[in-house]
């Protein structure tokens, strides 16, 4: 059997063409479906013989509306972010941050934390990689705080459920917490609280950045792989979160949460933060629950503070960081970030 030989250039050209065509079609389909989600939810409860007036009907409507909506938002944004991340591999971020002064470095680090790919198991190698290249400790911390907290999943979900103002404010305040916390930690001169082996480390030759010379097809494929990975990982949490949210939506009486987590309960913010720190979840599971809680009268600032505390500080992360940081530094790290989140909670409650 003879093979048709296609030159690599031709193959690439048709691949880009193919990809672009698929993406254009997908975008149209996406918009069409997204604008008809309420109709879909109505159809579902209609088929089940329920109305929105009943608790069960309301719960199922919420579930049928939210699940596809969140999924679609996730797929769209995670795909775009996956592509953006191919331009910002950690090696490049490190190169951008080396030698930057305190202040500017912190701002840059926090911002880059949004677009640099970050998986919590890489937190330590990344941390060490930054430090050994001469990125100041405070700047590295700004990155470490912003990366898990201000991620595309959280922003997408907040946008989808609360609109761009809330998402935008979360982004801005998340960055602020990261920047200020990093500045404070840097100013405290905590270098001597790094584990000894970290300070003594001589790293090997830095692995050259491999994102710089990617072709567009590789970037698209990387975006798609990112979607499969993130959506796959997040999906069970999401369903659980939406399920819980749907139950709250349908069955918890109106304003029930107002007494516990409402505007007048000033102590609710610190409690929310303290509760959130030892917990660990990803954004996808928490946001639908938050939406339902707010629908029942909880104050936005309180629940967002809770969300930030859950995502940004977690017991598993502290355990991992213990390998590179002495306990005092971990405590300061957690304390500074928790204080920042506390302030964010109060600000949100005051503004909204």
């Amino acid at each position: 059997m003879s093979e048709v030989s296609v030159s690599p250039a031709q193959r690439t050209k048709s691949s880009v063409f193919g990809w672009t065509g698929v993406l254009v079609l997908a975008s149209f389909a996406w918009i069409a479906i997204y604008s008809h989600l309420t109709d879909f939810a109505d159809a579902v409860i209609g088929a089940l013989g329920l109305t929105r007036n009943t608790r069960l009907g309301e719960a199922i409507h919420f579930f049928s509306y939210d699940t596809p909506k969140v999924l679609m938002l996730l797929i769209g944004i995670v795909f775009v972010m996956g592509i953006v991340q191919t331009f910002f591999v950690p090696e490049r971020t490190r190169a951008l941050l080396t030698g930057k002064r305190l202040g500017i470095g912190n701002v840059l680090a926090a911002t880059l934390g949004i677009v640099t790919p970050f998986c919590s198991c890489s937190a330590v190698p990344l941390f060490i990689g930054f430090l050994s290249a001469g990125v100041p400790l405070g700047v590295t911390f700004s990155f470490l705080i912003s990366a898990p907290m201000v991620n595309e999943v959280a922003l997408v979900l907040l946008f989808g459920m609360f609109g761009w103002k809330v998402a935008g404010l979360y982004l801005a305040l998340g960055l602020l917490v990261a920047i200020v916390s990093g500045l404070v930690i840097g100013a405290l001169g905590m270098e001597r609280h790094l584990e000894d082996w970290v300070r003594a480390l001589q790293t090997g030759e830095a692995h050259p950045p491999n994102g710089v010379s990617m072709s567009w097809v590789e970037r698209f494929e990387s975006g798609w792989a990112h979607v499969r990975q993130i959506v796959g990982k997040v999906f069970p949490y999401l369903l659980a979160g939406i399920g819980l949210g749907a139950a709250i939506h349908g069955y918890v009486p109106e304003d029930f949460m107002a007494s516990l987590m409402g505007h007048d309960a000033w102590w609710a913010v610190p409690v929310a933060v303290v509760l959130g720190v030892p917990m660990y979840s990803n954004a996808a599971g928490i946001v639908p629950v938050i939406e339902a809680l707010i629908g029942k009268g909880a104050a936005l600032g309180t629940v967002l503070a809770f969300m930030m505390a859950v995502i940004a500080l977690s017991a598993p992360e502290m355990i991992i960081l213990r390998k590179v940081l002495k306990p005092r530094l971990i405590a300061i790290f957690a304390g500074v970030v928790a204080a920042g989140i506390l302030m964010v909670g109060y600000v949100f409650n005051a503004v909204f």
Partner: protein, 76 residues
């Protein structure tokens, strides 16, 4: 015989990378010794910043995410 080290601290991606490399090496009938490196001091010593990382005969060939099958095949 190729000496391969998979760098990673035990998350799913690292395990999948190990399995993938092992499977491809077997398919291609290449003799390999594969080690998992999980302690951070050693991982950092290679200059790898995102795990999983793959080191073949002392050279870092990949870091960050599970490598694609094509990439793994190209190493053998």
């Amino acid at each position: 015989m190729k000496n391969i080290k998979i760098l990673g601290s035990g998350c799913a991606n690292c395990r999948n990378t190990y399995a993938l490399v092992e499977a491809v090496a077997k398919e291609k009938n290449v003799a390999v010794s594969i080690d998992k490196v999980e302690d951070f001091p050693s991982i950092a010593a290679y200059g790898v910043m995102s795990t999983p990382g793959v080191v073949i005969d002392g050279t870092v060939v990949h870091s960050g995410g599970v490598p694609s099958r094509e990439k793994v095949e190209s190493w053998f």
